[in-house]
């Protein structure tokens, strides 16, 4: 367990290190585009800060109100249809970048949340209610309704397959 943790810690530093090296290399090839990419990333990070704060608050709240027993009941092996319902619902109503949600999912996973439910949650993040008007504008309401029905079904199939493979 500690060995795995150590390995993950190394990866946590190697990955961003490699990206920074990539930037350095690309800076010599195309400084203006690399600068633009850096600026874009900076802006992206700034816009994500409020989301990160909400996620930390959400994580803190979950830590306070949920204990492993409650999580196991809601999302664990005996959660049944209710677990799937909440995973799908949480996936749809969750906001912001997925990177901000990984630590929370890691916490829930450690507390007993089934991997299938995590997969269902991640899949349903594609359904974003505030963005629906854009989708309806481009594709029409019939397409949007059908797509979302099939995506919810697909998310549950994916979750079940992942649980079967455990």
């Amino acid at each position: 367990m500690n060995k795995q943790k150590e390995k993950n810690n190394h990866f946590n530093l190697i990955f961003p290190g490699l990206v920074v090296l990539g930037y350095l290399g690309l800076f010599f090839v195309n400084p203006s585009k690399t600068g633009k990419a850096l600026l874009l990333s900076g802006r992206m990070f700034l816009t994500l800060i409020p989301v990160f704060i909400v996620v930390i608050l959400f994580m803190g709240g979950l830590n306070y109100f949920l204990n492993p027993q409650k999580v196991k009941k809601l999302f664990g092996k005996e959660s049944g249809a209710k677990g799937w319902f909440f995973a799908v619902l949480l996936g749809i109503i969750s906001h912001g970048s997925i990177y901000a949600w990984y630590p929370l999912l890691k916490d829930l996973q450690a507390q007993g949340m089934k991997n299938g439910l995590i997969a269902a949650f991640l899949y349903n993040r594609a359904i974003k209610i505030p963005h629906l008007p854009v989708m309806i504008y481009y594709f029409g309401i019939q397409f949007v309704v059908l797509l979302f029905i099939y995506m919810v079904i697909a998310s549950i199939i994916e979750g079940l397959v992942i649980d079967l493979m455990q």
Partner: protein, 146 residues
């Protein structure tokens, strides 16, 4: 009752635990954001338009593939998909592209693997890729039947 009290943690402990948990993810998050910046600037949208040719299965597969290597806010995929549709790219390809955009995340894969486990991240992304293909075909075919 005793068990309940034992399980309850203080407010400050709950939030410091949350902060610590989040802090471990910060280097990866920064790496991914930097990588996405490079991707947005160095991969032109015109390249996406040159790939789709009209073959149902191939276009749907390409839609899933391109959606898989793309990342970002889902609303961007709706706009790009909508514009591609105006450029006569098939609805199968565009649907697969939109579905794979969020459900498959090659760019996010390192972060997902590091935090949720390599096996889980790989399996989830492979299944999502296959499902993007079938969700696209099912959605467009059902539409044509209605």
């Amino acid at each position: 009752m005793q068990q309940q009290t034992k399980n309850k943690i203080s407010f400050s402990t709950a939030f410091s635990k949350a902060l610590k948990g989040f802090a471990t993810a910060v280097p990866i998050i920064i790496g991914v954001i930097l990588l996405f910046g490079l991707f947005r600037v160095f991969v032109p949208q015109s390249w996406i338009r040159s790939v789709f040719t009209g073959n149902l299965l191939r276009d749907t597969l390409y839609g899933s593939l391109i959606g898989s290597i793309s990342a970002g806010n889902p609303v961007n995929s709706y706009i790009i998909g909508g514009e591609l549709l105006h450029d006569s790219v098939s609805l199968y390809a565009v649907t697969a592209f939109i579905v794979a955009w969020v459900t498959v995340g090659l760019i996010q894969l390192p972060a997902e693997a590091s935090l949720l486990g390599k096996r889980f991240a790989l399996t989830r992304n492979i299944i999502s890729f296959v499902l993007a293909f079938f969700v696209a075909i099912a959605t467009v075919m059902t539409m044509s039947l209605l």
